[in-house]
């Protein structure tokens, strides 16, 4: 029984610090918000709240909330796809085709853009993407008659900005997984006559799936709640569920609705993750 006890102590000791910390700073405050989402008005100042489901009802009543939710989810899908398509090959190259002495340096170069401020980065993107911006000027320097390809204030501009912001997450999580693959496995497969494609499908992809999935989760989940990039880069197309939630806190004193919409967002995320659960369970720690 002593072994069982020590096992329990180990689990408790390893997880308790994290979860106590999260309980105090996230779960307790969020329970308060969850409670608020069932009130008519936040019980702050001299307001008298009453219990209601009206906030969640609004989501069902008003078609545009559902439209915006769908839009946010699609935005998450597009950004995640973009990050996978650009990031996975980059991670693969970094892990298996870059000489040792360069690898650490490149690895760090990929994280570094992250250490600048998001708002400053987005304003830089507006310079690049706008009509008569850097891309246009560059093109016109080569082809004087080139038409403008400025995409600022459109949906693609949002995607570009978001893919840029989240790409390092994808590259790094894929990399740490790909880098763990023993090279002798690949050599063995090759000596047995496997083609490059077969090596990728049968060896690399399955073994790096944990990293790929972790990266997808770390990109998709925060992106669907994002509001800053859409607001600044999206112009007329910049409205998302995230911006509507933000407005409930900054523009109007409607915390209950903002909270309700956030918990709906959380429920959607959990539903999507639940649908992917069999896949995640096999491949993703912690699952």
């Amino acid at each position: 029984m002593r072994i069982e006890q020590r096992r329990r102590f180990a689990i408790l000791g390893l997880t308790a610090p994290t979860y106590l910390w999260l309980a105090l700073t996230i779960f307790l405050p969020l329970s308060v918000m969850l409670y608020f989402s069932f009130l008519t008005v936040a019980p702050i100042g001299n307001r008298e709240p009453a219990l209601t489901f009206a906030q969640y009802g609004a989501f069902l009543d008003k078609e545009f909330y559902r439209f915006l939710t769908w839009r946010s989810v699609m935005m998450g899908v597009h950004v995640t796809l973009g990050c996978v398509l650009i990031g996975y090959p980059a991670a693969l190259i970094l892990a298996h085709h870059v000489p040792n002495r360069w690898r650490e340096a490149l690895f760090l170069l990929i994280v570094l853009p992250f250490w600048s401020n998001a708002l400053v980065r987005i304003f830089s993107w507006t310079m690049v993407l706008r009509e008569n911006g850097l891309i246009d000027r560059g093109l016109q320097a080569i082809f004087p008659d080139a038409p403008s390809v400025g995409i600022l204030f459109t949906y693609p501009a949002i995607i570009v900005g978001l893919v840029h912001s989240y790409l390092p997450y994808m590259i790094l999580t894929c990399y740490i997984s790909l880098q763990a693959i023993d090279r002798s496995l690949i050599e063995a497969a090759r000596s047995l006559g496997a083609s490059n494609l077969a090596i990728f499908r049968r060896v690399l992809l399955p073994l790096s799936l944990p990293g790929l999935l972790a990266g997808m989760v770390l990109v998709f989940v925060p992106v669907i709640g994002s509001f800053m990039e859409p607001r600044i880069l999206g112009g007329l197309e910049g409205v998302t569920l995230g911006t509507v939630i933000e407005d409930q806190f900054t523009a109007v004193f409607n915390w209950p609705l903002g909270a309700a919409l956030s918990f709906i967002l959380l429920a959607i995320v959990l539903t999507i993750l639940a649908a992917a659960y069999p896949l995640l369970r096999r491949n993703l720690q912690p699952f």
Partner: protein
């Protein structure tokens, strides 16, 4: 054929780096541009660096950001790695629930978490201050650390550790000779994430910073109504260049990317 593949491969990586650094380059160029409105063409000038040198508030805020991000990275990486170890090495009841609980911090928009923290810290007497900001930053960093370190652990499995133990290695030998090197790249990546999450964290700091104390993101965002000057670009440029130097130095003397 092999040469062609090789240049294609490095060409691709170069393109990705160009994409990642395009806005950073713009940011840096604008730090040297005389126009506060990012106007083109660029008129080269170091006026914003001179202004920055006299801006104690901004410099102080930047220092706060760096210190906070460093402490946050250490705490979050330590706690998160422990939790990831527990998830990777043990089966126990309630594990799935604990794992699901990692999602609210990254799903619920920070604005809402920030507002709720402010209210709860007010009610419980924790109050506002650097301690409260650190509490919030670590909480937001933990899920990233756990997922990243977890992905690394999952890729390796436990066979190496078991083999070492079977061959007579002591627990500490197993940890330092096998587990730590195996987790190394994951831990480094997690720490870099944790640093980045805190360094760019605005909402939580904004609500929890007491008057007179601020961080770089707080300075930038609260300047939004009137507008920030390219001094922000100047300080960001300095930070990026200094960290680039430190990182390359670090990369030169360590093998955290793993031997291969």
């Amino acid at each position: 054929m092999k040469g062609l593949l090789k240049s294609l491969v490095s060409g691709y990586l170069a393109l990705v780096l160009v994409f990642l650094y395009l806005p950073i380059a713009v940011m840096m160029v604008m730090a040297f541009n005389q126009s506060p409105l990012y106007r083109l063409p660029v008129v080269w000038d170091t006026v914003w660096f001179e202004e920055l040198a006299g801006n104690e508030r901004l410099l102080g805020a930047s220092l706060n950001s760096v210190v906070l991000a460093l402490i946050n990275a250490v705490i979050a990486t330590a706690l998160g790695t422990m939790a990831a170890l527990a998830f990777a090495r043990y089966q126990f009841r309630g594990k799935t629930l604990l794992q699901i609980l990692l999602f609210p911090p990254i799903t619920i928009p920070w604005l809402i978490i920030g507002t709720s923290m402010l209210i709860l810290f007010f009610w419980t007497g924790i109050g506002r201050g650097l301690h409260a900001m650190l509490l919030g930053h670590v909480a937001l960093s933990l899920p990233y650390v756990i997922v990243v370190v977890g992905a690394r652990l999952k890729s390796f499995g436990v066979t190496l550790e078991e083999a070492a133990a079977t061959l007579g290695a002591s627990p500490w030998q197993v940890f330092w000779r096998v587990s730590a090197p195996v987790m190394g790249p994951g831990i480094v990546a997690a720490a870099l994430f944790a640093f980045a999450v805190s360094f760019d964290q605005f909402v939580i700091s904004y609500f929890l910073a007491p008057p007179g104390i601020s961080t770089l993101p707080v300075e930038i965002y609260s300047a939004i109504r009137k507008g920030f000057t390219p001094e922000i670009n100047a300080i960001s440029t300095i930070i990026i260049l200094v960290s680039m130097g430190l990182m390359l130095l670090f990369a030169r003397f360590s093998r955290f990317g793993g031997e291969r």
